[in-house]
Amino acid sequence: MNFDLSDSDKNRVAAVAEVVAGSDYPATATAANDATACGNVLRKGTLLLSAAGHLASSDNAERAVGTMAAMAALAEHDAKCYLPLEMSARVVARFIDTFGTADQKKRYLAGLLAGKTLGALALAENTMNVVNDPLSATATAQGNEYVLEGAKNHVVNAACADLFAVVATLEGEPAAFLVERETAKLSIQAGAPLPGGGLAGCGSLHLEGCSVATEAMIRPSGKQGLLEHLRIWENEVLVAGALGRMQAALAEAQAHAREHVTGGKPLIAYQEVAFKLAEMLTLTQTAQLMAYKTAWLTAAGDRESAVFNACTKVFCTEAAERVSSEALSILSARGLSADCPAQVSYQQVKYTQVAGTSNEIARVMIGDAEM
């Protein structure tokens, strides 16, 4: 047992903060409504973070904890890039790294990790969940190709991704297909930006007889299915995102409570404010431990990892909403400005609850596992 982040983990967290604060790190302000500009920002950000070691694979439990902490640090310091960047370089790259063929890895992995290629996971369809509603997108083998039919919605990075991991049903079982942006009969709609001003738009894909080579297919074997793996990894990104935003909201509220003087004394001298901060810190520290443990269990292949991941998803994303909300109460008028970190957190964390395994479905999964 050991509850300390290692020095190496702490260095990774510090490295992320340093990269984001550096003068080379791309500014995001003008990119929000421009897919090309968004893509360029994400590519450069990926390259810089990759060079700092942020995107190296988390192939053991100890390293996975450091990865989670570093991901949270990225969400804390760069709310706009975090989700699209991690969905590309973490989820899609991790998927290919874990289950892809040698050719697929050779073709895509280095590009994804260096920011030359932006990835997007095309999993959700009409609703964001893929638990209650079976996948309707299909893949049919035709000679040396698979023909994809169907629509994918709520695809983060749809507007600027170069590569899509499209999940469809093949002979009754889910499989993923690596589909490049320029593939014929693939049409893309950019979609609206997510709340909180992130660079990620949630767009949609329409596949109408879209053919890909058989070599583009990925179907993992093993006890955990493809959907379960993808959901767990996606949930980890959402958990770290919620944790990072919680940390940002707490830090801002704490600083404000110390600096802002009202009635002749700093805000923190008022018991109600101090007690709010105490609860926020309690939730944040608890969320950190949950997030670190879920990363640790997943990397260790623990049999409880899926249930614990669901527990963590619910806890962290709901705690993040509460912490952000309390931060806004403490910040008062200052919290109303659009670029206030706590307000960004408040707007972004709702997405972390409904995306991935929605918290309602996560609770059902946990309940089913217990009963």
Partner: protein
């Protein structure tokens, strides 16, 4: 980071659960209804080695590490041991025996620890007073030094094990002009002239743990009953905080696992509208929330245990965070357990109303939630 327990720790946990289910749990309901302390179970806990688990073998203990010791408390709760007995165990072992071990003289250790560890003697700690709860420095009980002895005057309240204790570790002011620095600790044995315990208080929960006032009226004790040095009593009391926030919170976390298991089992058997209530989403959501609380609280409790194991000095922030979280956030899962059981949850036989009553102490005992918030905000 590493969240794993050793194989030995896992095995020990299972052993404690087996022991408690066989030797203690069958009498829990009877004693809770009567509001009486279960001496038989307590002595069996001593014989099993739980009362001095972390203390040295030379006094009858087992030299166990902190995490294993905390795990034993969690296992008691998980087995279904009530909050009263685990509270008595905590006050006896950590607030009394551990303080004697950490700060007592060798003579004091040899005289008291073997009996406390075996369970033949019961210990308590007398700190809280009617007007000095969280505000310890306001205590009025005094200990005046006179010709080779101390004379104690004053009273204590809400003392766990008060009516049954053979050995009381009592805090009193040796210098009433000072605040915390004026507080010292003393051993007062049952039967000492001028020392008496009040009638057991009638409590909402933890009813098998007897609680009372302690009265000191010109109570004269030998000067060798001073524990540690004069004026260091407050520091000694504060050093029990880590045990208080780990070993005493652990049974509460274990108890949530117990109510979760009972609730899951009940929900699978209870049929309404033609199907088990476990099939209803509202039930699943309650069960999920209980599990989420259990997992999160467990991490905080073991974190403080691990910090203590590392020998880090006074982990106040970690301790207060754990206490606040377990105290305030445990109310909902305990409430949900009653709700899942419906009418049966309100009745004694299913144990949920007892767990609900016992759990209500969590945000009050050993430092209220408001005090934890005060500590946390000061340390932020």
């Amino acid at each position: 980071m590493d969240f794993s327990f050793t194989r030995e720790q896992d095995m020990f946990r299972k052993e404690v659960i087996r022991f408690a289910r066989k030797e203690i749990v069958p009498r829990v309901e009877e004693h809770d209804l009567k509001g009486t302390f279960d001496f038989e179970s307590f002595r069996k806990m001593g014989a099993f080695g739980l009362l001095g688990l972390h203390l040295p073998e030379k006094y009858g203990g087992s030299d166990a590490d902190v995490v294993t010791t905390v795990m034993a408390g969690e296992a008691l709760g998980e087995a279904g041991v009530d909050g009263g007995l685990t509270l008595s165990y905590g006050a006896h072992t950590f607030l009394c025996a551990d303080t004697l071990f950490c700060h007592g003289t060798e003579a004091q250790r040899e005289k008291y620890l073997p009996g406390l560890i075996s369970g033949e003697q019961i210990g308590c700690m007398g700190l809280t007073e009617p007007d000095a709860g969280s505000d310890v420095a306001s205590m009025r009980t005094t200990a005046e030094k006179r010709d080779g002895s101390y004379v104690l005057n004053g009273s204590k309240i809400f003392i766990t094990n008060g009516p049954i204790a053979d050995v009381a570790l009592v805090y009193a002011k040796t210098d009433p002009t000072k605040q915390h620095e004026g507080i010292s600790a003393f051993i007062v044995e049952k039967g000492t002239k001028g020392f008496s315990a009040g009638e057991p208080l009638k409590k909402m929960g933890c009813r098998t743990s007897t609680t009372s006032e302690l009265f000191f009226q010109d109570c004269e004790i030998p000067e060798e009953n001073l524990v540690g040095q004069e004026g260091f009593g407050f520091l000694m009391a504060m050093q029990t905080v880590e045990w208080d926030r780990s070993a005493l919170l652990a049974p509460m976390v274990g108890a949530i696992r117990h109510t979760l298991d009972k609730s899951s089992g009940y929900a699978k058997k209870r049929t309404q509208f033609g199907r088990p209530i476990s099939h209803f989403q509202a039930t699943k959501h309650k069960i999920a929330d209980m599990r989420i609380f259990y997992e999160s609280a467990r991490l905080l409790v073991y974190r403080i245990a691990w910090c203590k194991e590392q020998g880090r000095p006074l982990n106040h922030l970690e301790a207060a965070v754990a206490k606040l979280y377990v105290g305030d956030w445990s109310l909902k899962p305990n409430n949900d357990a009653v709700l899942i059981h419906g009418g049966y949850g309100y009745c004694h036989e299913y144990g949920m109303e007892r767990a609900f009553r016992d759990g209500r102490l969590a945000p009050i005992g050993g430092g209220t939630s408001d005090i934890q918030k005060k500590i946390i905000s000061k340390l932020m």
